[in-house]
């Protein structure tokens, strides 16, 4: 028997960005565990990434967007909306939250997209390898000034954030460790100090300058030696604090909203056993992300976490677009009308507010952002020309004429299945009642459905993933 469509829908919302009804039915038929495996190993199942050639042909500016939005956002949004590897793109977004790097300083979307492509390529690989790639990533080096970290003049920015935000968390190292780690990364720099204006941007690459590397002894987290950056990373990934830190990040991103990162030193996880299980999986697998993700998605704590998490703006926008469809080809104005939507809701992709990333959970919601979220989704679901809206209408039509009650239930089912409270349902029913029974021969029948879908996405429940 096919697995419960509600559970499959939950998996696809969290491990990806939702799915159309047809896709959910197909996956439910394959089963939950098989779907998890396909998400984790998409390349073995013939799932392709978004067609970058198509993007470049229609939006050539998205190839090398330079320093100005929105073309960098266009590039990533195209991938997010069109990939057949939703978990690969989701984990890319996860690492962008954790290893937050922003255009406000980097001023180079080419390099930021290169970093994103690296997350896409390595994000489900080994954490140690990923951290090493990150330390050599030119956008990160420039963002945290490791190109200004010299043997004779140490710049601690990268060294500190590596420990505080990327691996261990506050309280698991000393100021001396920051200093020593920073010394170990001296000489890890960018090739060419780039003249960034006015002639466009040159490609950046990692460069190691042995003459600028501090070759003297360092003592880091109790280990002493003539360490290089790679040695520091090797020591970091052995720390239980590192396993727990990444585990808690995964829990916060995929399972349920945790307090903001700076509070983690003070506040216990909401589900310590779940974080323990993920940390144990990290340790056992030696930091293999696929193994940890398998532990996560097949756990009961994940399966039981339906609709308890506020959607991030990227999740809200991308899942809406994947459901309503119509954005497979990047048309003119795609940038301002589509790709910048998360920005308008408080999540400027490729440009997080600081190296600490975004404050998440209910902090996504304020009177401005909530209004943007409601207005965008209502506009999308109110457009009956969109293939996804047409699909919902066709599936409703197949059920024949309906009472208002049947209409509301069927819409909620086809949109999710969504789980709405009695109060919200009551208002939806009130709206449906105003038109009486739905008769498909009536001229305004489709518009009535679209109006109901708009009210559905305007409800509070729709903000939850």
């Amino acid at each position: 028997m096919a697995d419960d469509i509600g559970l499959i829908a939950h998996l696809m919302r969290r491990a990806g960005f939702g799915a159309t009804r047809a896709e959910l039915e197909e996956r439910a038929a394959k089963g939950y565990d098989a779907t998890v495996e396909e998400l984790i190993n998409p390349e073995e199942h013939g799932c392709e990434r978004a067609d970058e050639q198509l993007l470049i042909r229609l939006q050539p500016g998205a190839l090398l967007p330079g320093g100005q939005p929105p073309m960098g956002n266009v590039n990533w949004m195209f991938h997010l909306v069109n990939t057949q590897r939703p978990l690969e793109e989701k984990i890319t977004l996860f690492w962008h939250h954790v290893f937050a790097t922003g255009n406000s300083k980097v001023d180079n979307y080419d390099q930021l997209l290169t970093q994103i492509a690296m997350f896409r390529e390595k994000g489900m690989g080994n954490y140690r390898e990923l951290l090493l790639e990150l330390a050599k990533n030119p956008a990160m080096i420039f963002w945290l000034d490791n190109n200004e970290n010299h043997k004779t003049a140490v710049n601690e920015n990268w060294g500190r954030e590596l420990l505080e935000l990327f691996s261990l968390g506050v309280g698991n190292y000393t100021e001396v460790d920051v200093r020593e780690a920073s010394r170990a990364f001296t000489g890890w720099t960018l090739d060419v100090k780039i003249p960034r204006l006015p002639y466009g941007r040159h490609p950046w690459s990692f460069k190691y300058l042995p003459e600028d590397h501090d070759e003297t002894e360092k003592t880091f987290l109790g280990h002493t030696g003539n360490f290089d950056g790679e040695d520091i990373i090797d020591i970091i990934v052995q720390q239980p604090a590192c396993h727990r830190f990444i585990a808690r990040h995964l829990y916060n991103f995929f399972v349920a909203d945790e307090p903001q990162v700076p509070a983690w030193q003070i506040e216990e996880p909401r589900d310590p056993a779940a974080v323990d299980a993920l940390a144990a999986s990290f340790k056992e697998s030696g930091g293999e992300m696929k193994a940890i993700l398998r532990t996560l998605f097949t756990s009961d704590f994940f399966k039981n976490a339906r609709y308890n998490k506020i959607k991030s703006p990227a999740e809200l926008v991308v899942s809406t677009l994947r459901q309503v469809g119509g954005e497979e080809v990047p048309r003119p104005y795609y940038g301002d009308e589509i790709a910048m939507q998360p920005t308008y809701m408080g999540q400027d992709l490729l440009n997080p507010p600081s190296v600490e990333g975004w404050h998440t959970g209910s902090e996504w919601i304020n009177s401005g952002s909530l209004m943007s979220r409601i207005n965008f989704t209502a506009d999308m679901f109110g457009d009956v020309s969109r293939p996804g809206v047409q699909d919902i209408i066709a599936r409703l039509k197949a059920k024949g004429n309906m009472t208002p009650e049947q209409l509301v239930d069927a819409c909620l089912d086809l949109m999710g299945p969504l789980e709405y409270g009695d109060d919200a349902k009551g208002e939806l029913l009130e709206q449906a009642n105003a038109g009486g029974d739905l008769d498909w021969s009536a001229a305004d029948a489709e518009q009535r459905v679209a109006g109901l879908l708009q009210l559905i996405v305007a409800m509070r429940e729709y903000q939850f993933n």
Partner: protein, 373 residues
């Protein structure tokens, strides 16, 4: 009838470099520490024989000379954590030891309008809501773009829209046993109400002043529109940045202060032209200053910074003292703040907004005399 006092906050995000904003040009230690990232003495706009403004701050010097700008030296708090978010959180919540969720201005708004009679008592202009303004149950209108295009479900045809909004308000009004749902409910209702009120502001606005076409220029223009529309708004908030100048600081820092000086100058010119300046005080603050010794191209995270308070009700001049730069007085290479930011807040809260400060900033802190009696 006397006008109600209004506070405008301009947050300098990223950690503004105190020493290159108010330059201690006469102190030889400045030249010892700042071998590369310094302001040449002949470019400093002197305030007195010890310190002077960054050369990009000429428009602010004019305000200073008019006696309407207070420079608050050495502002900070003990044991600065040097992390952006943590430091900003401390400034926003007045909680240096625990992680707070209540913003100091959220508390101020609650005290100004305890019965939530006006959902636009506080208005925030920014991509996302500032924690300083946030307090569960306190409505803040949050304008992320232009005031002109601000409203709920504008895409639905007018006749239909009224009915839909009625369903919407009813659904959002129901109180459930989930805090997050109730927060969403209140936020949705406030948002709808705030938009209805604020949309009159651009219509009522008239001014001959042209604001610079910069982000901060446009935000301050929006703030001016709301203030001049007489909607009962008492606290307005915006930000500019990023001041996180670890590298290539000199040109970046200069541009930031050019943008701010021009925008702030236009803002007060606009208010004065429209006789709306006499009840407005503006605070400029940043989460921390930067390290005393430069790193060859920029400056790293430090402690102790400078704040400015501007407006007709302000008694201009310099307050507190420039912290000592002598090596024995530094803490891990940073200036040691000699004035607690909660005292600055207390002065604004008590002497300007006429509120009880200790309950908002969590204690008694020394006030300064920069508000005219």
């Amino acid at each position: 009838m006397a006008k109600d006092p209004v506070l405008v906050v301009l947050q300098l995000s990223g950690g503004n470099d105190y020493m290159n904003t108010v330059v201690p040009y006469a102190n030889s230690l400045y030249w010892d520490y700042r071998t590369t990232v310094n302001i040449p003495e002949d470019q400093v706009i002197q305030l007195d024989d010890k310190v002077g403004f960054n050369p990009s701050m000429a428009p602010l010097k004019a305000i200073y000379d008019a006696g309407e700008m207070a420079v608050i030296h050495g502002v900070g708090y003990p044991d600065s954590p040097r992390s952006h978010f943590r430091s900003m959180d401390i400034w926003h919540t007045c909680e240096p030891d625990t992680v707070g969720t209540e913003g100091w201005l959220g508390r101020a708004l609650r005290d100004i309008d305890p019965n939530k009679e006006n959902v636009v008592t506080g208005v925030s202009f920014g991509q996302a809501m500032f924690r300083a303004m946030s307090l569960r149950g306190v409505p803040v209108a949050c304008v992320s773009g232009d005031l002109e295009n601000y409203g709920m479900l504008p895409g639905i045809e007018q006749q239909q829209r009224e009915k839909v909004l009625e369903r919407f308000s009813k659904a959002y009004s129901s109180v459930l046993d989930s805090d997050v749902m109730n927060y969403l409910g209140q936020t949705g209702l406030d948002s709808m109400a705030g938009a209805d009120i604020l949309k009159v502001a651009p219509e009522r606005y008239k001014s001959s002043v042209t604001y610079p076409d910069t982000k901060i220029g446009q935000k301050l223009r929006g703030i001016s529109q709301v203030h001049q529309a007489d909607l009962g708004t008492r606290i307005l908030y915006c930000d500019h940045g990023s001041f996180d100048t670890h590298a290539s600081q000199l040109p970046a820092h200069k541009q930031l202060w050019t943008d701010i000086s021009e925008a702030v100058s236009a803002f007060f010119a606009d208010l004065k032209e429209n006789h709306a300046a006499d009840n407005v005080v503006m605070l400029l603050f940043t989460e921390f200053g930067r390290r005393v010794r430069d790193n060859g191209s920029g400056t790293d995270h430090g402690a102790g910074g400078v704040s400015f308070v501007i407006g007709e009700p302000v008694k201009g001049g310099q307050y507190s003292e420039y912290p000592s730069m002598k090596s024995e007085h530094l803490s891990q290479g940073d200036l040691v703040p000699n004035y607690d930011f909660r005292g600055l807040y207390s002065t604004l809260l008590e002497d300007w907004l006429k509120l009880d400060a200790p309950s908002i900033v969590n204690g008694q802190f020394e006030k300064l005399g920069f508000i005219k009696n």
